[in-house]
């Protein structure tokens, strides 16, 4: 090779390099933040109110599992450049992908309802009527998705995520928690309530894990990596990103639990958790113990998290469906040219908004059913993911090695048991 003369000043090189690093850091972070959506925050707050610091160890455990599931998803995206539904269709056929996609869409509608409920609950603390908050949220999200620049939306998402983290960190501090006790519970599983009647403790355990590791979260990380055109050379950066995302997710969840445990559990405040407004009630209940600011911080965090979920879940759903059925990867991308894509997004948002707008609809039941459907779907998703990721022909050098296979299948088996537990017990207690 001839040595070329390099008598020039590099122009954009540095910027592209920097962009490349920033570019790798993202999917895991956003995915992690989005995992702590309205449903997540509700679950964590309820866990803190009911069981104090006791469930913190579950957070640590689910964070570790989350890291591995997200890592596999990211790796699939890096190696194949395709989303989950596309790969499932190619490998397992059209029936499996139809089952997977439709089930996921149904469950996601439930998740979006939960996001709207979260928005309404948060804004109710600022005296905004649920109907108005739902209408505002739906309009803003639809405009953002159909008109916004996606390159910029991702920074908004990360900023929102960081905002949520800070809000809950601050609320946790204001609640004057017993940090020693909290840390102890984080690393040592405390099973004081484990033996109690009706298995409510275990249900809370399953719900905590189930709200963190979701089918759409799995589809999301993979599509995101593929869509960013990250490749095998980004593996290290992406693992770092996923690890950071999982860690932050866990920290936020931890602060929520700690705040609720310190302020409410230790003062024996009880909350009716069968209410879509439970989080708002929890935030209100925080005030006497942690101050005005804590209440509003809690509400703002919930609002931001719900909004993040509102952006991410419909988008992921529409992408999954379009990729599964090969719809409109057309040339021009106006609404007219991509009717199914935009149509699906708007359909999800409008249907979900209706549930919140119309009084008397069984809101809690819908959110609850969504959780059950998600729990039942998760084992299928994880099995698909594990099989695909171990396929050397498909994955090349990025195929799961023995260690990742053992860890992955162990985690999958664990989650299958948890999912079935949740499904069975929810039907028996419902």
């Amino acid at each position: 090779m001839k040595a070329p003369v390099l008598g020039f000043t590099p122009r954009v090189v540095n910027r592209v390099r920097f962009a490349a690093i920033l570019g790798v850091l993202g999917p895991g972070l956003v995915s992690g933040f989005a995992d702590n959506d309205a449903g997540g925050i509700t679950t964590y707050s309820v866990a803190g109110v009911k069981y104090g610091y006791e469930l913190l160890w579950v957070l640590l455990a689910s964070q570790i599992v989350l890291f591995f599931t997200q890592e596999v998803g990211a790796r699939l995206g890096l190696a194949t450049g395709q989303g989950l539904t596309g790969l499932v269709r190619e490998r397992f056929g059209v029936r499996w992908v139809t089952f997977l996609t439709i089930t996921m869409l149904v469950a996601n509608v439930g998740s979006i309802v939960a996001e709207f409920a979260g928005t309404a609950a948060a804004l109710s603390l600022f005296n905004v009527a649920p109907a108005i908050s739902a209408a505002i949220a739906a309009t803003v999200v639809i405009l953002l998705i159909t008109r916004g620049s996606f390159g910029k939306v991702q920074y908004l998402f990360v900023a929102v995520g960081i905002g949520v983290s800070l809000a809950y960190f601050a609320s946790a501090l204001m609640a004057h928690p017993d940090w020693g006790n909290a840390f102890h519970s984080l690393v040592v599983p405390s099973l004081a309530h484990a033996g109690t009647t009706n298995g409510a403790y275990w249900l809370a355990v399953v719900a905590t894990v189930g709200t963190t590791i979701t089918p759409w979260g799995q589809a999301f990380i993979q599509s995101y990596c593929a869509d960013k055109r990250l490749g095998p050379e980004d593996l290290v950066g992406e693992r770092l990103d996923v690890g950071l995302g999982a860690l932050l997710t866990n920290l936020i969840a931890g602060f929520i639990v700690v705040a609720c445990a310190a302020a409410l559990f230790s003062h024996q405040v009880t909350i009716d958790t069968n209410n879509p407004n439970a989080v708002a009630k929890i935030a209100e209940a925080l005030r006497p113990f942690a101050g005005d600011a804590a209440q509003y911080l809690f509400a703002v965090g919930l609002l931001a998290a719900s909004f993040l979920g509102l952006g991410v879940v419909p988008l992921t759903s529409a992408y999954a469906a379009c990729e599964a059925f090969g719809w409109e990867t057309g040339v021009d991308w106006r609404f007219r040219d991509a009717p199914a894509f935009y149509g699906l997004i708007i359909f999800f948002i409008v249907i979900a908004a209706f549930f919140v707008l119309i009084p008397g609809l069984p809101l809690v039941q819908v959110m609850f059913m969504a959780q059950v459907v998600n729990a039942l779907l998760l084992p299928f998703v994880l099995v698909f993911v594990m099989v695909l990721a171990s396929d050397k022909k498909l994955m090349g050098p990025l195929a799961s090695g023995r260690f990742l296979q053992v860890v992955g299948w162990t985690g999958t088996a664990l989650l299958v048991v948890l999912s079935l537990t949740l499904a069975v017990s929810s039907f028996t207690t419902f």
């Binding site: 020039f8 590099p10 390159g151 090969g326």
Partner: protein, 424 residues
């Protein structure tokens, strides 16, 4: 007419009606307009055996009947131009050349053509999807009930290009136009929709010039992604075919390692040109100019100049002006294509050229260039160095780029494209 989905899984019987196994796949030979079926894969006792098409006497939705009783499996070898329909095409992504988009294969349609079964079309419509799910008939009844049809959509095999590398490389070996016939801008949009692996496959199936034209139409960050994935030799070949100003912008964005490697593999002259262009600031006349232009000495006649143009075959954007330079390469005049054609052939060009052409210095800002182009209605502005030597030209399209808001059309609604981070 037979759909692949109707044949897969059907029983295979020998001449005497004895069951042998099930149809697992069909094999076609790529090359003809409609690829003929050349073999059948039969699943029997949990393993797959290959049979030549000659040993099949019939195949329909009821299954396959063989013309023999003895199965000889030792003779079959999959030839390099053969592909398996179910394994290699079903559910995969393909490029619909006519519709200029990437779609997924729902089903494959086979027809008797001249007494033999051929692959004729790809089913990408809803009916194909419903058929695969086994609910086509009830759905049709339902649809008729509400006076609606079931959308059918087939793409003729000739208008299809597979994107998977394995099949794309098979198709490459046979005479086939397909993608290369598309306008570079359409091709760029298609490639933009593909995953990284598939992009490399499609680029591999294009010749250097078509690849260069398509890459020239892409967003800078997509260009970089593709170049980092290409074999360095191929990347160098494609760069040589690109406009030097585009090539320079692209090379500047590559990683240090790739840049050194690719420049080293380019023709010396072209590599130097690219490197020279890279020394200019991005937003200056030097940064946006191209070094492809036509310059002639002042003592030529109109006829000689036109002959020179024929010889050089300049690109569309650069043919409209002929620049006149002295022995020191200093710009002394300019001629339009019109001036040349309307002039008498024997006239010396120095007699009718514009002797004081509008020009900009290499360091001039992009805005100055744009203003000049607008004020004088120019198709190109010459760029000179401090001594007045002609270095390159800025064509009107490159000059106007600054005026257009960057995403001139609605960007693809990706989850998160990189366009936000690497905007120019």
């Amino acid at each position: 007419m037979l759909y692949l989905s109707q044949a897969i899984g059907r029983p295979v019987r020998d001449k005497l009606g004895e069951p042998i196994g099930q149809v697992a796949d069909l094999i076609v030979a790529i090359g003809d307009r409609y690829p003929p079926v050349t073999g059948i894969v039969v699943k029997t006792n949990g393993r797959e055996i290959f049979l030549l098409w000659q040993s099949v006497s019939s195949l329909d939705a009821a299954g396959a009947v063989l013309s023999t009783t003895a199965i000889d499996i030792s003779k079959f070898h999959q030839r390099p131009n053969e592909i398996r329909l179910k394994q290699d095409l079903m559910d995969r992504q393909i490029v619909d050349i006519d519709g200029r988009k990437v779609v997924r294969v729902n089903d494959l349609r086979l027809d008797e053509v001249e007494g033999a079964l051929h692959l004729v079309a790809v089913d990408v419509g809803a009916s194909g999807l419903l058929r695969r799910l086994g609910i086509e008939r009830p759905w049709r009844v339902l649809a008729r009930g509400i006076h609606r049809g079931v959308p059918e959509h087939y793409i003729d095999w000739e208008d299809v290009d597979p994107v998977e590398r394995t099949i794309a490389s098979v198709k490459l070996r046979v005479p086939h136009k397909g993608l290369a016939e598309l306008h570079p801008a359409d091709l760029a949009t298609i490639i933009d929709q593909l995953s990284r692996n598939d992009r490399v496959g499609v680029i591999a199936s294009l010749d250097d010039e078509a690849a260069a034209d398509a890459i020239g139409e892409m967003e800078p960050e997509t260009q970089v992604d593709i170049f980092e994935d290409l074999e360095p030799e191929r990347a160098a070949d494609i760069l040589e075919e690109m406009d030097p100003d585009e090539a320079a912008d692209l090379v500047a964005d590559l990683s240090d390692e790739s840049r050194l490697e690719i420049l080293g593999l380019m023709e010396k002259e072209e590599a130097e040109e690219v490197q020279e262009l890279m020394t200019y600031g991005e937003e200056t006349a030097g940064g946006i100019m191209t070094t492809e232009f036509v310059a002639v000495p002042a003592d030529l006649t109109a006829a000689e100049t036109i002959d020179r143009l024929r010889e050089l075959e300049p690109d569309a954007e650069t043919i409209y002006y002929v620049y006149v330079t002295d022995t020191d390469n200093k710009l002394v005049g300019v001629l339009s294509l019109r001036d040349l054609i309307v002039s008498r052939p024997e006239n010396c060009i120095s007699t009718f050229m514009y002797a004081e052409p509008v020009a900009v210095k290499t360091g001039a800002s992009q805005k100055e260039v744009t203003d000049l182009v607008a004020r004088y209605n120019l198709l190109a502005v010459p760029v000179v160095d401090d001594e007045g030597r002609l270095e390159g030209i800025v064509t009107v399209d490159d000059a106007m780029d600054t005026l257009m808001p960057q995403p001139s059309k609605r960007r693809i609604p990706r989850l998160f494209s990189r366009s936000g981070t690497a905007e120019r």
